[in-house]
Symmetry: C2
Subunit: 85 residues, 2 copies
């Protein structure tokens, strides 16, 4: 078994309102960052996962997202196995 | 000017305690995901940034992280300009 570093991004689906994203966008505009829009805010996770190989680590992370880390109705997730530890 | 899609990850620094990460790790263990540790939880942001080129978009995002999006004492951030829109 190898320990893999896995990065996960969980973001609200594009079709849904994202009040936190809007708040960040307005705060950025107030600071002078004018050319910014379509801001979405979600969760970033970094995990160490023990698995046989990269594919198994990704499958395990996928199962974690479906069961706990992401809301299947409102959120999308992206998994990257970024390397061995 | 071009619109770039920029992804930002903001995570608590490795040396700091991350109670949210610990909570997620325990919840995963309770669900049967045993081989998981070193869980860190932070923010994922996705923004559309108007800029002259990729380097300018990245500089802009860097300034946003330093001024608003990340806490310079407790958090690290990673910026990826993922493409034109």
């Amino acid at each position: 078994m190898t320990r893999y570093r896995v990065d996960i991004r969980v973001l609200p689906r594009p079709a849904l309102l994202d009040p936190q994203g809007k708040a960040v966008q307005h705060a950025l505009a107030a600071l002078g960052f004018a050319g910014v829009d379509d801001v979405r805010v979600g969760k970033a996770l970094s995990l160490a996962v023990e698995a046989r190989d990269t594919a198994a680590a990704e499958r395990e992370a996928h199962a974690m997202c479906e069961r706990l880390l992401a809301n299947p109705v409102t959120e999308d997730f992206v998994i990257s196995v970024v390397g061995e530890m």
